[in-house]
Amino acid sequence: MIDALQAASNVNIGTKEVQKAGQSIGAGIAYGAAAIGPGVGIGIVVGNAITAMARQPESAGVARTTMFLGIAFTEALALIGFVVAILVLFVG
């Protein structure tokens, strides 16, 4: 497989190149998978906050503060995924 690629692309494919390819694929999957859940979660948090604000405009301030808190907790998972992707891509 690697020999065929090497012959076709005229590039010298060694261990480092294979490692780099694996790191790129791994980083892409790590961040992509980590973003799914928080994406859905932030949608639910903000959607429900807007519903609450529309129903009770007088308590919009409380809803907004709680919404930011909810976003912060949900978003942390996606950001940990981002950090893992950076680590996989650039370290090791």
Partner: protein, 261 residues
């Protein structure tokens, strides 16, 4: 780190990440751009509030206006929402954290600097450790050591057989995961913003100045427009992350002051 292979992002010759984050020493003791931004953020915060307090006018103007609206914002939006009137003693602490984090972040878009100091893990980690120390100290001082540990590990109304399990989860959350996620949230947000700005700047650079196909040079306008949009977005992120860091400090201080019974 593999230096021989170029890092390709969207067909760009992306530099190794160390080049975007590690700065040359410009002073003794490893004093680099990140440290300079930290010092500037402290100096600007102190300067603003000392300048504002110099003359106490009845009708505030200039810096006094900014300082008073900041204090009112932290008071109304952060302390009263999370701790109640009990937490008013923590106003200077949370105000200082808010100003410092915001100024560290906003250097991301200021020309010449163009680097958020919070994109280095050391900065948010030290801030989170300070917050950790303060909320634990406040809890021990207010409730006593044994009562504080009991209140923060065992929530009220848990059935007896679940107590060991819940205590481990709640204890890990309160004493380990809270400060860690507080630091990682700020760090990763600022790092992501920095990399986003770098990516579009490199894209514009590649299309304008390293382009061998002359017909595609005008396409370089698109990444420049995108860069402007992202800069505006990053201002929003800088404010929002400072706000979230400050309000989470309040949220973590809350149970130290008012244990749930």
């Amino acid at each position: 780190m593999i230096p021989a292979v170029p890092h390709l992002v969207a067909g760009l010759d992306f530099p190794p990440i160390g080049e975007l984050l590690n700065w040359k020493n410009i002073g003794p003791g490893g004093f680099n751009k990140t440290a300079l931004i930290d010092v500037l953020a402290v100096a600007l915060t102190l300067g603003l509030f000392f300048h504002a307090a110099r003359r106490k006018a009845m009708v505030p103007r200039g810096t006094q206006n900014i300082a008073e609206s900041l204090i009112e914002f932290v008071n109304g939006q952060i302390i009263m929402e999370t701790m109640g009137a009990d937490g008013l003693g923590y106003l200077p602490f949370i105000l200082a954290i808010f100003c410092f984090v915001f100024l560290c972040n906003i250097f991301e878009i200021i020309p010449i600097f163009q680097f958020p100091a919070d994109a280095r893990m050391a900065n948010p980690l030290v801030l989170a450790l300070i917050v950790w120390g303060v909320y634990n100290y406040a809890g021990i001082k207010r409730q006593g050591f044994r009562a504080y540990v009991r209140n923060s590990t065992i929530p009220p109304g848990v059935p007896g057989f679940l107590v060991p399990l819940v205590a481990v989860i709640e204890g890990a959350q309160r004493f380990l995961l809270n400060p860690l996620t507080l630091a990682i949230r700020l760090f990763a947000n600022m790092l992501a913003g920095h990399l986003l700005l770098v990516t579009f700047a490199l894209m514009a650079d590649a299309l304008f100045f390293h382009n061998t196909v002359t017909a595609t040079i005008p396409i370089g306008v698109l990444p420049v427009l995108m860069e402007i949009v992202i800069i505006i977005f990053e201002v929003l992120i800088a404010v929002l992350q400072a706000f979230i860091f400050a309000i989470l400090t309040g949220v973590y201080l809350g149970p130290s002051l008012h244990p749930e019974h």
